[in-house]
Amino acid sequence: MQEVAVPERFEQPAEQPRRSFYAGPQAPAATGFSEAPLRGLGALLPVEPAASSSPSFEPAEGRLLARLLCTVLPSDGRREALTALRRFGSLAGVLAAPEAELRTLPGFGTHSVAAVKLVHEAALRLARATLAETPVLDSRERLYAYLSAVLAHERIEQFRILFLDEAGMLRADEVQGVGTVNHTPVYPREVVRRALELGASAVVLVHNHPSGDPTPSRDDLDMTASVQEAARALSIIVRDHVIVGAGRWVSLADAGLM
């Protein structure tokens, strides 16, 4: 299953006149990148790309994160929260951030990292329980909110399955495969086997496109067909295949592609 076959080429217009960025004496002003200290190998300070617009997080997110951090830090947590939010862009980004990256932030020792991961996991379970209250496919909005919580900040392609019972209620949500950035192996046989184990009569396939563009690829469509065929042999229905992008989703069922 491939999102794009190869990385996009670099656009090369026919005539590209070389422009000077700036014609004049240099001012020794600090920029974002000159602030990044240069150290030897093995002690690099990775620079998160600066948002070109104003910060994307709300004050409420900052307050929440500060409240969490002050339970494990001697400070009120505000400065540490702000640094983390600038680095990862949002509360959800901080909660989903890999441990190793969190640890590079000031104030983020084991206790802070553990607190963040704990809240993340607890919130995910709460979100899942909320989804399980009503038939999964009854409300697109509710489903997409859940999938955003789970997948919005995943950097690699992840394939998940929502297993449904006869009433369309969520029985389980499991990661089925995790791939390299453009390709995730999916085995129809494993999907069907797991559905049988769980007593599920239907499944919803889900995967994310880390680039943010949920446009299905040829491979996405082919893979869906393979799983449907395998599932049919055991009377299990593939109700939908949802591709999660950045604030956008594609439902193959809604799009008539299944």
Partner: protein, 210 residues
């Protein structure tokens, strides 16, 4: 249990999640019995998290625990609206130029930086090194970062100092070596840029094959 939380959080039992949340509100001691009692009383982890604070205080739990549970509920609300950040797309020279403009304008110490891009040429991250380090080690380090970040392409930028940019033989040689090594990892090297004194040179434009 903290080690298990960090390694595989999904493997923890619901009551263990409650146990650890109780730690946030209670001075550390064995919270397992209280955690299990909470799940029994409210039916599930979700039930406990969404229980009215008055009911939690009934169970002789401090306000701090009610606060911790409320915090989780609020966090779930934010996560439901989660959108990945917009990352600058650097797939053409106009975009690169705009992105690099601030650092071309202002003096900064010499450095060699890599811009790591995903399969749609969106910027994933940057890393920088002092430019006079032993190249094979920089290259290895750079490629390791590229793999860790799941980059599909990259752009090298040598910048800093006061002199006008000049393409050195060393730039060409390193570019060639990098392209070969990166190619084996399915990573494209889009360009090698040199910035300086408010101007820039692209090796690709200057005749280096891409």
């Amino acid at each position: 249990m903290r080690a298990r939380l960090l390694a595989r959080p999904e493997a923890l039992a619901d009551y263990e999640i409650v146990e650890m949340l109780l730690f946030l509100g209670i001075a550390r001691r064995d919270t397992k019995p209280q955690a299990k009692a909470l799940i029994n009383r409210f039916g599930s982890l979700a039930g406990a998290l969404q229980a009215p604070p008055a009911d939690l205080l009934d169970s002789s739990l401090p306000q701090a625990v009610a606060d911790a549970f409320a915090l989780v509920c609020e966090a779930a609300g934010h996560m439901a609206k989660a959108r990945p950040r917009d990352r600058p797309r650097l797939g053409d020279w106009a975009a690169l130029e705009e992105y690099l403009d601030p650092r071309a304008r202002a003096w900064q110490p010499p450095s060699l930086a890599v811009l790591l891009l995903d399969s749609r040429n969106q910027l994933l991250a940057e890393h920088a090194w002092p430019p006079d380090l032993h190249w094979p080690e920089v290259q290895r380090d750079l490629l390791r970062e590229a793999l860790t970040r799941h980059a599909g392409a990259l752009v090298m930028v040598r910048s800093g100092g006061a002199a006008a940019p000049v393409l050195r033989e060393e730039d060409r040689a390193r570019h060639e070596a990098l392209k070969r090594a990166a190619g084996t990892l399915s990573i494209l090297v889009h360009d090698w840029l040199v910035l300086g004194a408010g101007d820039w040179i692209s090796l690709r434009q200057a005749g280096g094959r891409a």
